[in-house]
């Protein structure tokens, strides 16, 4: 290829990237209006939850996907962020701090919890680590469930209600916002806020992945002893992975509390941790677009099953034979098995992982033969 044509290729490449970015931007901007008018507000809520789950999945991806540390208690950090928001902005303690204080504080506190979980588990790997993190997740949930006596901190199993909606500037996102004669409904406003934070987290993750720190994480995943011998302080770098991952969870948790207006321990059970882990694994561990895809699919598919399976059964059998809720989990399990059988590296794996699973040594031989 001459240098001229490669230059042209580069230019068209760049133009393509810009065009794709603009189209993506417009699509993301109009998405809530399309879904809101086409499918109704319940789907708009689901869309907002998808954004929260994307943040969670990206956080867990740092721990599991990059650093290779299996964490089954990740939802605990979501809980920490959510409860911090609930305690600092609700009638429960009579505190009403602004969101720009609570969300960073939630990220920081969740990060500290991440380090607390990480510290005793530094020498553990694989199944052993999974068991300890699973225990940690349950401990946090049980604490939230029981910290209502002797001093009532978390209000126990009843949870905390009446949480302040998120305020930004002079606006509350709970009510439609009127600006320049244009009215933005509440769900739409939350959508844009969540989208902005999700994009921020995507940006941070991409930057981290292609950095000295990101490489150290992957090196630990690949071979911890070799990583140590290369001068990587594996203790600190692992703690950093736990802290960073947890802080993303803390952000998502705070947003969840403000959006939902109510938190209770049952929102943070083991099944939620497993769900976020599934998003990471199913989407394509370690690959950012894959993890995002996993987050979207695993939020939306169960809802489709939930909403769709009843009417479909009525249409076919004339009555509901199977409880939609049970059927939802059944189909979900089936989908997991199918994906793991046919796409073991995830739906959208990184190019590296794809090669890894194909065991593509033929590729190398071909290259040498050329």
């Amino acid at each position: 290829m001459t240098s001229m044509s490669s230059l042209n290729a580069l230019r068209t490449d760049k133009r393509m990237v810009i065009a794709a970015t603009v189209i993506m931007g417009i699509a993301l901007a109009v998405l809530p209006f399309i879904i809101g008018s086409g499918l109704g507000n319940s789907w708009l809520r689901i869309l907002n939850f998808a954004l929260l789950y994307i943040m969670l999945a990206l956080g867990l991806n740092i721990v599991v996907g990059f650093a290779g540390l299996l964490d089954l208690g990740y939802i605990a950090f979501y809980a920490v962020g959510a409860y911090l928001y609930a305690l600092l902005a609700s009638p429960h303690f009579g505190l009403h701090l602004p969101v720009w204080v609570i969300i960073p504080a939630g990220a920081a506190l969740a990060g500290i919890f991440g380090a607390l979980l990480g510290a005793p588990t530094l020498r553990l790997r694989g199944d052993y680590l999974a068991i300890v993190t699973l225990g940690f997740g349950e401990i946090v949930r049980i604490f939230l469930n029981n910290l209502n006596a002797p001093v009532n901190i978390t209000n126990g199993p009843q949870g905390i209600s009446g949480i302040d909606p998120i305020h930004l500037g002079g606006f509350t996102l709970a009510k439609p916002i009127s600006l320049f004669g244009f009215t933005l409904p509440s769900l739409h406003a939350y959508y844009y806020l969540f989208l902005a934070l999700a994009l921020f987290i995507v940006f941070v993750t991409i930057r981290l992945e292609n950095s000295r720190i990101g490489r150290a994480w992957v090196a630990i995943r690949e071979d911890e002893i070799a990583a140590k011998s290369c001068g990587i302080n594996t203790r600190n770098i692992k703690l950093l992975a736990f802290t960073m991952g947890a802080s993303f969870g803390g952000v998502a948790g705070g947003l969840f509390a403000g959006f939902q207006g109510f938190v209770s321990p049952e929102s943070f059970n083991l099944m939620e941790s497993v769900m976020v882990l599934c998003m990471v694994v199913l989407g394509g561990m370690g690959n950012i677009p894959g993890v995002i895809l996993g987050g979207i699919l695993l939020t939306i598919l169960p809802e489709i099953f939930r909403h769709g399976s009843g009417p479909v059964q009525v249409a076919i059998f004339g009555k509901i034979l199977l409880d939609p809720e049970a059927l939802r989990m059944l189909l979900f399990g089936l989908a997991l098995i199918v994906v793991m059988l046919y796409r073991p590296a995830g739906l959208w794996p990184s190019t590296t992982r794809r090669r890894e699973f194909r065991g593509d040594s033929t590729n190398d031989v071909l290259k040498e033969g050329e």
Binding site: F203, G231, I232, E356
Partner: protein, 256 residues
């Protein structure tokens, strides 16, 4: 050529009742290629692991460039300037060759989370320097054309070379090679030999564990022989070859 780089003083290491190293003392001088040989199970790799902080010695101490090495802190050992390769190659298999070498620069660079996210001038400059140095090193060990291939897809000989490049990326004063010629054919061994001589010419001291006696005898300035965890000989190659204790260790002595 004369100043001492590494001094091992009476190193002991046991695994349960098995003695891996007993009272091993040796001195490596600045700028030399020092060979460590011995029959299988003599304790060569155990010595490496003690030296690089992977094992905690049960006795004795290591002085490197005037500083006492802290046991069980491999990353600190790397920072002080000892880099190693492994007998059974330990690369980051699912990273590219380039990335493997870039990881080697970790210990000499500083960018943290904030630098990574903000991409400030210092970080971008450091990142560019890391990449440049990694390219240089891949060139140096002659595998620049494989830079973007996954380490696990490289040929055996190239993997050995990549491991050396990664070790060199840490700017070591002492490069410890654990059987680098194992499984190599004659041509590969010859070019490995050239590579090691080049490394020494660049001022890096080399500690070499090797089974290939011809390679060791031709390459090393001095050789120590371990047998059953004890040093039985330390001298220039020509004299080591004639030492009766060494011959006995390798060929078996008379029945007692």
């Amino acid at each position: 050529m004369s100043s001492t780089l590494l001094e091992a003083r009476a190193i002991d290491k046991h695994f349960g009742g098995v003695t891996a190293l007993r009272n091993v003392s040796l001195t490596i001088r600045q700028g030399e290629i020092y060979g460590l040989i011995g029959p299988n199970g003599a304790g060569k790799t155990s010595f490496f692991n003690v030296l690089t902080g992977l094992y905690h010695p049960d006795g004795g101490e290591l002085i490197f460039a005037g500083e006492k090495l802290q046991a069980s802190a491999p990353h600190k050992v790397a920072k002080l300037g000892i880099a190693r390769t492994f007998q059974n190659i330990r690369l980051f298999g699912n990273m590219t060759a380039m990335e493997n070498v870039m990881v080697g620069r970790h210990v000499r660079t500083h960018a943290g989370v904030f630098g990574a996210v903000l991409h400030d001038r210092r970080t971008t400059r450091e990142e560019a320097a890391i990449r440049r140095r990694a390219e240089e090193l891949l060139n140096y060990v002659n595998i620049a054309d494989r830079a973007d291939d996954l380490a696990r897809h490289l040929s055996y000989g190239d993997q050995r070379r990549l491991e050396i490049a990664r070790a060199l990326a840490t700017d070591p004063k002492l490069l410890a090679l654990d059987e680098p010629a194992a499984g190599m054919n004659g041509t590969e061994t010859a070019s490995l030999r050239e590579l090691i001589e080049g490394i020494r010419k660049d001022g890096i001291t080399v500690l070499l564990i090797e089974h290939d006696v011809k390679l060791v005898m031709g390459l090393c300035d001095r050789v120590a022989v371990l047998d059953y965890g004890e040093k039985i000989c330390e001298d220039v190659p020509s004299l080591v070859q004639k030492d009766p204790k060494v011959i006995e260790a390798y060929l078996g002595g008379s029945i007692a």
